[in-house]
Subunit: 238 residues, 2 copies
Amino acid sequence: MIVNSLMNNKGAIVGTQFKQVIAIVGGTGDLGGGLARRFARAGFRVLIGSRNQAAADESSADLKALAATYDWGDIDIEGMDNPSAARLGDIVFVTVPFSAQSATLKSIAAEVQGKIVIDVTVPLVPPRAARVQLPAGGSAGQIAQHLLGDGVHVVSALQNVAAAHLNSDDAVECDVLVTGDNKDARQVVVDLLAAIDLQGFHAGPIDNAAAAEALTSVLINLNKQYKTHAGIKITGIR
Amino acid sequence: MIVNSLMNNKGAIVGTQFKQVIAIVGGTGDLGGGLARRFARAGFRVLIGSRNQAAADESSADLKALAATYDWGDIDIEGMDNPSAARLGDIVFVTVPFSAQSATLKSIAAEVQGKIVIDVTVPLVPPRAARVQLPAGGSAGQIAQHLLGDGVHVVSALQNVAAAHLNSDDAVECDVLVTGDNKDARQVVVDLLAAIDLQGFHAGPIDNAAAAEALTSVLINLNKQYKTHAGIKITGIR
């Protein structure tokens, strides 16, 4: 479906008033869990996808328990397998390790045609995650666009935000470089990020995903040196 | 020569008290000129290298005129051909367009053995400078290390700082990612940057030059959107 980018800060589409459904494929990991937490709390319906139904159910239950503990009110969240989440989501985030990217994308390709898929993959090559080792395709973002085909608007984002920050209620001191070949799709993602208090910037075509992906290894270097969760802020604009 | 990284903020080596000589190969361009200005003003001897002696002389004269106009006191700066600058410099910056990188490095390779060479090359592919198009070798930094060989410590830096900022007296709101395979050499560069009021960070091995180089295309995107000179700041550390 075509997703309207006009939404209020709770994620409801202005004018039609239905609740937007965010699918998070690979949503049981730290980063996917952080996104689930923030989107659920912002009023979206969130589908946590996993290869493992029990893990998806557990992540969903954990977030509901957190919501009860901190009095966030009801949150709308449900665990399921990855293809089901991709099929039922209006917008689909993919937050899996690079080694699982291709298989995961193939498993949801049919379900996401016509949608926006936000690829959060960082092509790290353990154990040397602190060394930039971009893939032959240029970047994970380009690989995702190639695998899913022209019927999917792939947008790459969120490679530089530490999961620890997403899993907190603090303001995130890290801007998000948003790349993708379709400007309207990028804008939808910038708007979604704003709904969870993240500042996104249009950073060019999907080829530019390489910049954010490579930067993650630099940030891992800094994290080791300074025992922190480093990020970046764009300067010269605000 | 081995360069001592202990220097005061005027660039003099502490203990031995000789003035450090900074060569800027390709120093007549905007970025090289900005570095020449800042290093000369900070008290270093600066050699502006060019393929064109007249252009090097003119850049040198322009900076001396600027120093007189703004009462900076005497600055020590001289124009010459690139190989001469590389031979006489203690530390050698290379600030040429990517298309000229290989030929320039070959022309100075013999002169820089045993030294630190700071590669500032950004592998932009005009006219699509706003699109990341990293070279087959991974990055310009890796190409430089490969071309100059193991007898040279190549350090990559300064790809993200706008020339307009270097050519001003304002504080530069952009951190510098410093990459290179030798940590001591990186530290020398971090110290040199501090002498001209720039904050450098150890960002890992020379392979990680790809991150800063790719980021430049993203910043060019932002510059077009916002009519600015964008930069980055590392967060989570200070």
